[in-house]
Protein backbone atom coordinates (compact mmCIF):
# COMPACT_ATOMS: atom_id res chain seq x y z
CA UNK A 1 0.00 0.00 0.00
CA UNK A 2 0.97 3.61 -0.45
CA UNK A 3 2.57 5.05 2.65
CA UNK A 4 2.01 8.62 3.64
CA UNK A 5 5.32 10.25 4.35
CA UNK A 6 3.77 13.67 4.70
CA UNK A 7 1.83 14.76 7.73
CA UNK A 8 -1.92 14.53 7.29
CA UNK A 9 -3.65 17.89 6.94
CA UNK A 10 -5.80 17.32 9.98
CA UNK A 11 -3.03 16.52 12.39
CA UNK A 12 -1.98 20.05 13.24
CA UNK A 13 1.30 19.93 11.39
CA UNK A 14 0.37 22.13 8.46
CA UNK A 15 3.61 23.87 7.42
CA UNK A 16 3.73 27.44 8.70
CA UNK A 17 4.30 28.78 5.19
CA UNK A 18 1.06 27.17 3.96
CA UNK A 19 -1.26 28.35 6.71
CA UNK A 20 -1.92 31.61 4.87
CA UNK A 21 -3.72 29.65 2.15
CA UNK A 22 -6.32 28.23 4.52
CA UNK A 23 -9.36 30.50 4.88
CA UNK A 24 -10.65 31.25 8.38
CA UNK A 25 -14.10 32.21 7.10
CA UNK A 26 -16.15 31.82 3.96
CA UNK A 27 -19.39 32.70 2.20
CA UNK A 28 -21.02 29.50 1.05
CA UNK A 29 -23.76 28.87 -1.51
CA UNK A 30 -27.31 28.63 -0.23
CA UNK A 31 -28.84 25.18 -0.14
CA UNK A 32 -25.57 23.28 -0.02
CA UNK A 33 -24.09 21.36 2.89
CA UNK A 34 -20.79 19.58 3.43
CA UNK A 35 -19.78 16.86 5.85
CA UNK A 36 -17.28 14.11 6.45
CA UNK A 37 -16.68 10.88 8.35
CA UNK A 38 -13.82 8.64 9.38
CA UNK A 39 -13.70 5.31 7.61
CA UNK A 40 -10.08 4.24 7.79
CA UNK A 41 -9.84 3.41 4.09
CA UNK A 42 -6.14 3.00 4.71
CA UNK A 43 -5.65 0.80 7.73
CA UNK A 44 -2.96 3.17 8.97
CA UNK A 45 -5.45 6.03 9.14
CA UNK A 46 -6.98 5.68 12.57
CA UNK A 47 -7.92 9.31 13.15
CA UNK A 48 -8.60 11.44 10.13
CA UNK A 49 -11.82 11.75 8.18
CA UNK A 50 -11.47 10.20 4.74
CA UNK A 51 -15.04 10.23 3.48
CA UNK A 52 -16.49 13.53 2.22
CA UNK A 53 -20.02 14.41 1.19
CA UNK A 54 -21.16 17.63 -0.48
CA UNK A 55 -24.89 17.83 -1.00
CA UNK A 56 -27.60 20.09 -2.32
CA UNK A 57 -30.84 20.37 -0.36
CA UNK A 58 -32.72 19.82 -3.60
CA UNK A 59 -31.86 18.06 -6.85
CA UNK A 60 -29.79 20.37 -9.01
CA UNK A 61 -27.82 20.74 -12.23
CA UNK A 62 -24.44 19.04 -12.39
CA UNK A 63 -21.53 18.90 -14.78
CA UNK A 64 -18.03 17.51 -14.71
CA UNK A 65 -14.82 17.02 -16.60
CA UNK A 66 -12.79 13.85 -16.32
CA UNK A 67 -9.27 12.64 -16.96
CA UNK A 68 -8.44 11.61 -20.50
CA UNK A 69 -6.03 8.96 -19.23
CA UNK A 70 -7.05 5.75 -21.02
CA UNK A 71 -6.98 3.80 -17.76
CA UNK A 72 -9.87 5.64 -16.24
CA UNK A 73 -10.74 4.74 -12.67
CA UNK A 74 -14.09 3.18 -11.85
CA UNK A 75 -15.60 6.32 -10.28
CA UNK A 76 -14.71 8.25 -13.43
CA UNK A 77 -16.63 5.79 -15.59
CA UNK A 78 -19.58 5.61 -13.20
CA UNK A 79 -19.85 9.37 -12.69
CA UNK A 80 -19.57 10.12 -16.40
CA UNK A 81 -22.32 7.60 -17.15
CA UNK A 82 -24.47 9.09 -14.40
CA UNK A 83 -24.22 12.63 -15.76
CA UNK A 84 -24.86 11.39 -19.28
CA UNK A 85 -27.91 9.35 -18.35
CA UNK A 86 -29.40 12.16 -16.26
CA UNK A 87 -28.39 14.84 -18.80
CA UNK A 88 -26.81 16.68 -15.88
CA UNK A 89 -30.12 17.15 -14.10
CA UNK A 90 -31.45 15.95 -10.76
CA UNK A 91 -28.03 15.60 -9.16
CA UNK A 92 -28.02 15.56 -5.40
CA UNK A 93 -24.48 15.12 -4.12
CA UNK A 94 -20.82 14.28 -4.54
CA UNK A 95 -19.37 11.50 -2.39
CA UNK A 96 -15.58 11.17 -2.18
CA UNK A 97 -13.23 8.82 -0.41
CA UNK A 98 -9.51 9.34 0.01
CA UNK A 99 -6.93 6.63 0.64
CA UNK A 100 -7.79 4.37 -2.29
CA UNK A 101 -8.33 5.43 -5.90
CA UNK A 102 -10.51 2.50 -6.99
CA UNK A 103 -8.49 2.56 -10.20
CA UNK A 104 -7.57 -0.43 -12.35
CA UNK A 105 -9.90 -2.56 -10.24
CA UNK A 106 -11.94 -4.17 -13.03
CA UNK A 107 -15.65 -4.90 -12.93
CA UNK A 108 -15.58 -5.23 -9.16
CA UNK A 109 -14.36 -1.67 -8.90
CA UNK A 110 -17.24 -0.45 -11.08
CA UNK A 111 -19.69 -2.23 -8.79
CA UNK A 112 -18.03 -0.66 -5.75
CA UNK A 113 -18.32 2.84 -7.22
CA UNK A 114 -21.96 2.27 -8.14
CA UNK A 115 -22.72 0.98 -4.66
CA UNK A 116 -21.05 4.01 -3.11
CA UNK A 117 -23.30 6.28 -5.16
CA UNK A 118 -26.42 4.21 -4.54
CA UNK A 119 -25.91 4.14 -0.77
CA UNK A 120 -25.43 7.90 -0.79
CA UNK A 121 -28.68 8.30 -2.71
CA UNK A 122 -30.39 6.09 -0.15
CA UNK A 123 -29.35 8.38 2.68
CA UNK A 124 -31.36 11.18 1.08
CA UNK A 125 -34.33 8.95 0.28
CA UNK A 126 -34.51 7.50 3.80
CA UNK A 127 -34.19 10.87 5.44
CA UNK A 128 -36.93 12.59 3.49
CA UNK A 129 -39.16 9.61 2.78
CA UNK A 130 -38.77 10.95 -0.71
CA UNK A 131 -39.38 9.34 -4.00
CA UNK A 132 -36.77 6.95 -5.24
CA UNK A 133 -36.74 6.74 -9.01
CA UNK A 134 -34.02 4.13 -8.81
CA UNK A 135 -31.62 6.32 -10.74
CA UNK A 136 -28.32 7.49 -9.33
CA UNK A 137 -28.08 11.08 -8.21
CA UNK A 138 -24.63 11.09 -6.63
CA UNK A 139 -21.32 11.75 -8.34
CA UNK A 140 -18.60 9.47 -6.99
CA UNK A 141 -14.90 10.25 -6.67
CA UNK A 142 -11.96 8.37 -5.17
CA UNK A 143 -8.31 9.23 -4.65
CA UNK A 144 -5.34 7.36 -3.28
CA UNK A 145 -3.46 4.25 -4.17
CA UNK A 146 -4.05 2.66 -7.59
CA UNK A 147 -4.71 -1.05 -8.08
CA UNK A 148 -6.48 -1.92 -4.86
CA UNK A 149 -10.17 -2.57 -4.25
CA UNK A 150 -12.01 -0.21 -1.97
CA UNK A 151 -12.96 -1.48 1.47
CA UNK A 152 -16.47 -0.84 0.22
CA UNK A 153 -18.43 -2.23 3.15
CA UNK A 154 -16.47 -0.02 5.55
CA UNK A 155 -17.17 2.95 3.30
CA UNK A 156 -20.90 2.39 2.85
CA UNK A 157 -21.32 1.78 6.56
CA UNK A 158 -20.06 5.32 7.19
CA UNK A 159 -22.09 7.11 4.52
CA UNK A 160 -24.95 7.69 7.00
CA UNK A 161 -22.42 9.26 9.38
CA UNK A 162 -21.16 11.62 6.67
CA UNK A 163 -24.79 12.44 5.87
CA UNK A 164 -25.55 13.05 9.56
CA UNK A 165 -22.50 15.32 9.75
CA UNK A 166 -23.64 17.56 6.89
CA UNK A 167 -23.71 21.25 7.75
CA UNK A 168 -23.36 24.67 6.21
CA UNK A 169 -20.78 26.36 8.43
CA UNK A 170 -17.24 27.21 7.44
CA UNK A 171 -16.03 24.42 9.72
CA UNK A 172 -18.16 21.90 7.84
CA UNK A 173 -16.71 22.99 4.49
CA UNK A 174 -13.15 23.08 5.78
CA UNK A 175 -13.48 19.68 7.47
CA UNK A 176 -14.79 18.23 4.24
CA UNK A 177 -11.93 19.79 2.27
CA UNK A 178 -9.52 18.08 4.69
CA UNK A 179 -11.21 14.72 4.24
CA UNK A 180 -10.41 14.58 0.51
CA UNK A 181 -6.68 15.18 1.05
CA UNK A 182 -4.02 12.54 0.49
CA UNK A 183 -0.42 13.74 0.49
CA UNK A 184 -1.63 17.35 0.53
CA UNK A 185 -0.11 19.43 3.30
CA UNK A 186 -3.10 21.75 3.57
CA UNK A 187 -6.80 21.72 2.65
CA UNK A 188 -7.74 23.77 -0.40
CA UNK A 189 -10.99 25.66 -0.02
CA UNK A 190 -12.20 28.92 -1.56
CA UNK A 191 -15.47 30.82 -1.61
CA UNK A 192 -16.67 34.13 -2.99
CA UNK A 193 -19.75 36.09 -3.90
CA UNK A 194 -20.61 37.44 -7.32
CA UNK A 195 -23.39 39.09 -9.26
CA UNK A 196 -24.76 38.67 -12.76
CA UNK A 197 -25.73 41.53 -15.07
CA UNK A 198 -29.33 40.33 -15.50
CA UNK A 199 -30.15 39.76 -11.83
CA UNK A 200 -30.31 41.71 -8.61
CA UNK A 201 -29.34 38.72 -6.49
CA UNK A 202 -26.02 38.08 -4.85
CA UNK A 203 -24.67 34.65 -5.71
CA UNK A 204 -22.15 32.45 -3.98
CA UNK A 205 -19.59 30.01 -5.27
CA UNK A 206 -17.46 27.67 -3.18
CA UNK A 207 -14.98 25.05 -4.17
CA UNK A 208 -12.58 22.56 -2.73
CA UNK A 209 -9.80 20.74 -4.46
CA UNK A 210 -7.06 18.28 -3.61
CA UNK A 211 -3.85 17.20 -5.20
CA UNK A 212 -0.14 17.35 -4.57
CA UNK A 213 1.37 14.72 -6.82
CA UNK A 214 0.51 12.91 -10.05
CA UNK A 215 -0.68 16.28 -11.26
CA UNK A 216 -0.73 17.18 -14.93
CA UNK A 217 -4.45 17.24 -15.61
CA UNK A 218 -5.85 16.92 -19.09
CA UNK A 219 -9.57 16.73 -18.50
CA UNK A 220 -12.44 16.88 -20.95
Amino acid sequence: SQTRSYAAPGDGTIPAAKKKYIPSTGTYPLGFKAGSAHVGVKASNTRFDDLALIASDAPCAGAAVFTTNKFQAAPVTVSRDLLKSRKGEGIRSVIINSGCANAVTGKGGIEDAKLMGRETDQAFVKDSNGEDDGQSRSIVMSTGVIGQRLPIQKIVSKIPTAYYNLGETHEHWLGTAKAICTTDTFPKLLSKTFTLPGSQEEYHIAGMTKGAGMIHPNMA
Binding site: G62, K188, I205, G213
Partner: protein, 225 residues
Protein backbone atom coordinates in the same frame (compact mmCIF):
# COMPACT_ATOMS: atom_id res chain seq x y z
CA UNK B 1 -4.70 12.89 -8.46
CA UNK B 2 -6.60 16.10 -8.84
CA UNK B 3 -10.15 16.22 -7.50
CA UNK B 4 -12.35 19.29 -7.33
CA UNK B 5 -15.90 20.10 -6.34
CA UNK B 6 -17.46 23.48 -7.00
CA UNK B 7 -20.94 24.52 -5.84
CA UNK B 8 -22.95 27.60 -6.67
CA UNK B 9 -26.43 28.84 -5.83
CA UNK B 10 -26.70 30.58 -9.21
CA UNK B 11 -29.53 29.31 -11.45
CA UNK B 12 -27.50 27.69 -14.23
CA UNK B 13 -29.06 24.77 -16.08
CA UNK B 14 -27.11 21.65 -16.98
CA UNK B 15 -26.13 22.46 -20.57
CA UNK B 16 -24.66 25.90 -19.95
CA UNK B 17 -23.11 24.62 -16.73
CA UNK B 18 -21.17 21.96 -18.63
CA UNK B 19 -20.14 24.52 -21.26
CA UNK B 20 -18.92 26.97 -18.63
CA UNK B 21 -16.97 24.28 -16.78
CA UNK B 22 -15.36 22.88 -19.92
CA UNK B 23 -14.26 26.36 -20.91
CA UNK B 24 -13.00 27.22 -17.42
CA UNK B 25 -10.97 24.02 -17.13
CA UNK B 26 -8.78 24.79 -20.14
CA UNK B 27 -7.34 27.92 -18.56
CA UNK B 28 -7.25 26.60 -14.99
CA UNK B 29 -6.84 22.95 -14.01
CA UNK B 30 -5.66 21.93 -17.48
CA UNK B 31 -2.99 24.61 -17.18
CA UNK B 32 -1.14 23.30 -14.16
CA UNK B 33 1.56 20.70 -13.74
CA UNK B 34 3.40 19.43 -10.71
CA UNK B 35 5.18 16.36 -11.99
CA UNK B 36 3.90 15.81 -15.52
CA UNK B 37 1.88 12.71 -14.65
CA UNK B 38 -1.80 12.58 -15.61
CA UNK B 39 -3.84 10.60 -13.11
CA UNK B 40 -6.43 7.90 -13.71
CA UNK B 41 -8.89 9.71 -11.46
CA UNK B 42 -8.73 13.46 -12.21
CA UNK B 43 -12.24 14.87 -11.90
CA UNK B 44 -13.72 18.30 -11.36
CA UNK B 45 -17.47 18.52 -10.80
CA UNK B 46 -19.78 21.49 -10.40
CA UNK B 47 -23.27 21.64 -8.95
CA UNK B 48 -25.65 24.58 -9.40
CA UNK B 49 -28.91 24.57 -7.43
CA UNK B 50 -30.35 28.02 -8.15
CA UNK B 51 -31.17 28.53 -4.47
CA UNK B 52 -30.28 32.22 -4.62
CA UNK B 53 -33.00 32.84 -7.19
CA UNK B 54 -32.99 35.11 -10.22
CA UNK B 55 -33.38 34.54 -13.91
CA UNK B 56 -32.24 31.06 -14.97
CA UNK B 57 -29.29 30.79 -17.33
CA UNK B 58 -30.61 28.41 -19.96
CA UNK B 59 -28.39 29.27 -22.88
CA UNK B 60 -24.78 30.05 -23.60
CA UNK B 61 -25.79 33.14 -25.57
CA UNK B 62 -26.81 35.41 -22.70
CA UNK B 63 -24.70 38.11 -21.00
CA UNK B 64 -25.39 36.33 -17.70
CA UNK B 65 -23.76 33.19 -19.07
CA UNK B 66 -20.70 35.13 -20.19
CA UNK B 67 -20.41 36.72 -16.75
CA UNK B 68 -20.86 33.38 -15.01
CA UNK B 69 -18.27 31.76 -17.26
CA UNK B 70 -15.77 34.49 -16.43
CA UNK B 71 -16.45 34.13 -12.69
CA UNK B 72 -16.08 30.37 -12.87
CA UNK B 73 -12.85 30.60 -14.88
CA UNK B 74 -11.24 33.04 -12.45
CA UNK B 75 -12.43 30.98 -9.49
CA UNK B 76 -11.08 27.76 -11.03
CA UNK B 77 -7.73 29.42 -11.69
CA UNK B 78 -7.49 30.39 -8.01
CA UNK B 79 -8.33 26.83 -6.96
CA UNK B 80 -5.83 25.34 -9.42
CA UNK B 81 -3.08 27.62 -8.15
CA UNK B 82 -3.60 26.25 -4.63
CA UNK B 83 -2.81 22.77 -5.96
CA UNK B 84 0.47 24.01 -7.41
CA UNK B 85 1.27 25.76 -4.11
CA UNK B 86 1.08 22.31 -2.49
CA UNK B 87 3.14 20.43 -5.06
CA UNK B 88 4.96 17.53 -3.43
CA UNK B 89 8.30 18.85 -2.24
CA UNK B 90 7.86 22.15 -4.09
CA UNK B 91 9.70 25.24 -2.93
CA UNK B 92 8.66 27.52 -5.80
CA UNK B 93 5.47 28.66 -7.48
CA UNK B 94 6.22 29.36 -11.11
CA UNK B 95 4.04 31.11 -13.70
CA UNK B 96 4.96 30.40 -17.31
CA UNK B 97 3.60 32.93 -19.77
CA UNK B 98 4.03 32.22 -23.47
CA UNK B 99 3.16 35.16 -25.69
CA UNK B 100 2.99 36.12 -29.37
CA UNK B 101 2.04 32.62 -30.49
CA UNK B 102 0.12 31.81 -33.65
CA UNK B 103 -2.67 30.21 -31.59
CA UNK B 104 -3.67 29.64 -27.98
CA UNK B 105 -3.09 25.93 -28.50
CA UNK B 106 0.50 26.57 -29.62
CA UNK B 107 1.19 28.83 -26.66
CA UNK B 108 -0.38 26.28 -24.28
CA UNK B 109 1.68 23.42 -25.71
CA UNK B 110 4.92 25.34 -25.34
CA UNK B 111 4.06 26.38 -21.77
CA UNK B 112 3.07 22.82 -20.89
CA UNK B 113 6.32 21.44 -22.30
CA UNK B 114 8.41 23.89 -20.27
CA UNK B 115 6.33 23.13 -17.15
CA UNK B 116 7.01 19.40 -17.33
CA UNK B 117 10.73 19.62 -18.14
CA UNK B 118 12.67 18.01 -15.26
CA UNK B 119 15.75 20.04 -16.15
CA UNK B 120 13.89 23.35 -16.08
CA UNK B 121 12.33 22.35 -12.77
CA UNK B 122 15.60 21.28 -11.17
CA UNK B 123 17.26 24.49 -12.37
CA UNK B 124 14.51 26.46 -10.64
CA UNK B 125 15.07 24.46 -7.46
CA UNK B 126 18.78 25.19 -7.74
CA UNK B 127 18.06 28.92 -8.27
CA UNK B 128 19.82 28.79 -11.62
CA UNK B 129 18.76 31.28 -14.31
CA UNK B 130 19.16 28.56 -16.90
CA UNK B 131 17.44 29.98 -19.97
CA UNK B 132 19.10 27.29 -22.10
CA UNK B 133 16.89 24.61 -20.58
CA UNK B 134 13.79 26.78 -21.08
CA UNK B 135 14.71 27.31 -24.70
CA UNK B 136 15.45 23.64 -25.19
CA UNK B 137 11.99 22.68 -23.90
CA UNK B 138 10.40 25.36 -26.10
CA UNK B 139 12.12 23.87 -29.12
CA UNK B 140 10.86 20.31 -28.67
CA UNK B 141 7.22 21.18 -27.97
CA UNK B 142 5.26 18.92 -30.30
CA UNK B 143 2.91 20.11 -33.02
CA UNK B 144 3.74 23.75 -32.59
CA UNK B 145 4.24 26.00 -35.55
CA UNK B 146 6.03 29.27 -35.48
CA UNK B 147 8.83 28.67 -33.00
CA UNK B 148 11.67 30.58 -34.63
CA UNK B 149 14.90 30.65 -32.60
CA UNK B 150 15.91 34.07 -34.00
CA UNK B 151 12.64 35.59 -32.82
CA UNK B 152 12.34 33.97 -29.40
CA UNK B 153 12.93 35.93 -26.20
CA UNK B 154 13.01 34.72 -22.61
CA UNK B 155 12.85 36.75 -19.44
CA UNK B 156 12.13 36.44 -15.73
CA UNK B 157 9.43 38.63 -14.24
CA UNK B 158 10.21 39.20 -10.55
CA UNK B 159 7.41 38.83 -8.02
CA UNK B 160 8.32 42.14 -6.36
CA UNK B 161 7.14 44.17 -9.35
CA UNK B 162 10.61 45.31 -10.42
CA UNK B 163 11.70 45.34 -14.05
CA UNK B 164 11.91 42.08 -15.97
CA UNK B 165 15.28 40.40 -16.27
CA UNK B 166 15.97 39.67 -19.93
CA UNK B 167 17.86 36.44 -20.48
CA UNK B 168 17.53 36.02 -24.22
CA UNK B 169 16.38 38.60 -26.76
CA UNK B 170 15.46 37.50 -30.29
CA UNK B 171 17.64 34.44 -29.97
CA UNK B 172 20.66 36.30 -28.63
CA UNK B 173 21.80 35.76 -25.04
CA UNK B 174 21.87 38.81 -22.81
CA UNK B 175 24.64 39.68 -20.40
CA UNK B 176 22.82 38.44 -17.30
CA UNK B 177 23.33 40.14 -13.97
CA UNK B 178 23.86 36.96 -11.97
CA UNK B 179 23.44 38.71 -8.64
CA UNK B 180 20.05 40.05 -9.67
CA UNK B 181 19.07 36.70 -11.18
CA UNK B 182 19.97 34.96 -7.93
CA UNK B 183 17.90 37.46 -5.96
CA UNK B 184 14.87 36.95 -8.22
CA UNK B 185 15.20 33.19 -7.90
CA UNK B 186 15.35 33.41 -4.11
CA UNK B 187 11.69 34.40 -4.02
CA UNK B 188 8.98 31.75 -3.75
CA UNK B 189 7.08 33.20 -6.71
CA UNK B 190 8.55 33.67 -10.16
CA UNK B 191 7.25 34.28 -13.68
CA UNK B 192 8.97 33.06 -16.81
CA UNK B 193 7.99 34.87 -19.99
CA UNK B 194 8.66 33.32 -23.36
CA UNK B 195 7.90 35.50 -26.38
CA UNK B 196 7.70 33.36 -29.49
CA UNK B 197 7.71 35.98 -32.20
CA UNK B 198 8.04 39.64 -32.99
CA UNK B 199 4.41 40.52 -33.42
CA UNK B 200 3.48 37.72 -35.83
CA UNK B 201 1.09 36.08 -33.41
CA UNK B 202 -1.10 37.56 -30.75
CA UNK B 203 -2.08 34.57 -28.67
CA UNK B 204 -0.97 33.98 -25.11
CA UNK B 205 -1.22 31.09 -22.63
CA UNK B 206 -0.42 30.94 -18.94
CA UNK B 207 0.62 27.78 -17.11
CA UNK B 208 1.47 27.25 -13.46
CA UNK B 209 4.02 24.81 -12.14
CA UNK B 210 6.55 24.29 -9.38
CA UNK B 211 10.14 23.22 -8.99
CA UNK B 212 11.40 19.70 -8.59
CA UNK B 213 13.20 18.98 -5.32
CA UNK B 214 14.94 16.18 -3.43
CA UNK B 215 11.82 15.99 -1.30
CA UNK B 216 9.68 15.01 -4.28
CA UNK B 217 11.86 11.96 -4.83
CA UNK B 218 11.80 11.12 -1.13
CA UNK B 219 8.00 11.31 -0.96
CA UNK B 220 7.42 9.26 -4.07
CA UNK B 221 10.22 6.82 -3.37
CA UNK B 222 8.24 5.88 -0.26
CA UNK B 223 5.15 4.87 -2.21
CA UNK B 224 4.39 1.20 -2.51
CA UNK B 225 1.70 -0.44 -4.59
Amino acid sequence: TLLGVICTDAPVSAGPLQAALTSAITKSFNSISIDGDTSTNDTVAILANGAAGGKPIDSTASPDFAAFQKTLTDFSIDLAKLVVRDGEGATKFVTIRVTNAASYKDAHRVASTIARSPLVKTALYGKDANWGRILCATGYAENVEGVVPEETSVSFIPSDGSAELKLLVRGEPEQVDEARAAKILEAEDLEIKVQLSEGKGGEEAVFWTCDFSHEYVTINGDYRT
